[in-house]
């Protein structure tokens, strides 16, 4: 960043031109959540019991397994976008920004991958 002229002091402080894409993705994934999360909640509500056999058999069926994997992708991405907005509002030091940047780019994807592996294991046998 420049330190001399007025223009040099403000260059680079403006928009990074990623805002619109971020905004639209958060709306798109919000619509996804609007379908997926009620599906999960109503399914849990209508189960005759919540013992292992019932829950496992439900999650192994194609439609629930697909919905669960979509949740791992869509909802984790929605949360990742939202957490980024929250961190941008509250983290202002360079070190914190780097930590926040590492966090939002690794943890949600790791969590989603772990969730998908779990659903695949349920759906395709294994345990």
């Amino acid at each position: 960043m420049g330190n001399g002229t007025s223009i040099g002091r403000v260059r680079g402080l403006g928009s990074s031109h990623h805002g619109t894409g971020h905004f639209l993705s958060s709306r798109l994934t919000a619509v996804g959540n609007l379908v997926l999360i009620p599906f999960l909640m109503v399914s849990l509500l209508l189960m005759p019991s919540h013992d292992y056999a019932t829950v496992h058999a439900w999650a192994a069926k194609p439609l629930p397994a697909t919905a669960l994997i979509l949740i791992m992708i869509n909802t984790f991405y929605h949360a990742r976008l939202g957490i980024q907005v929250m961190l941008e509002d509250y983290v202002h030091e360079d070190g914190g920004k780097i930590a926040a940047w590492l966090f939002i780019n690794f943890v949600p994807f790791a969590g989603a991958a772990f969730g998908i592996v779990s659903v695949v294991r349920i759906a395709l046998g294994g345990a």
């Binding site: 919000a30 959540n33 292992y52 949740i71 929250m86 969590g111 772990f114 969730g115 659903v119 349920i122």
Partner: protein, 141 residues
């Protein structure tokens, strides 16, 4: 913050505000969204991986979060588990309602003072009612 030295324009009213329905649901949207993200998704992963791990690991999940058959520390965690699960359903319904409110505001509607306050209050009414109905259904059937 940005490193530009000297004075940049600031809102003159940052310390002049009072509670109202709109600002309450604005901060609730943030709190519930981040609560769902950090607590809700962690619970979701614990639950789904416990199922993937087989009957024993799923039983461990149930014991710690809800049943507490062994007494001791589990009594505390199972109580906490119930508070967290009810809290998450409320957080979801609140965040869903304020999320839909965002969609309305996004198209430029609903900014009239009265309408804005009314719909903000209604999101809270909705989330409390939906949470009650949900858990009544779980516990009474």
């Amino acid at each position: 913050m940005a490193q530009a030295p000297g004075k940049r324009p600031l809102s003159p009213h940052l310390e002049i505000w009072r509670w109202g329905p709109a600002m309450l649901v604005s901060i609730l949207h943030r709190i519930t969204g981040n609560g769902l993200a950090f607590v809700g998704l962690a619970m979701l992963l614990w639950w789904i991986s416990a199922i993937a791990g087989g009957p024993e690991s799923y039983q461990t999940f149930l014991d710690w979060v809800w049943l507490a058959p062994n007494g001791g520390l589990q009594v505390a965690t199972a109580l906490l588990g119930k508070v967290v699960l009810v809290g998450l359903t409320w957080a979801f319904f609140q965040h869903m309602a304020t999320g839909i409110r965002h969609f309305v505001l996004d198209v430029g509607a609903g900014y009239e003072l009265e309408a804005n306050a009314r719909w903000s209050s209604l999101t809270i009414l909705f989330s409390v009612a939906a949470t009650s109905v949900f858990w009544a259904f779980v516990l009474l059937r």
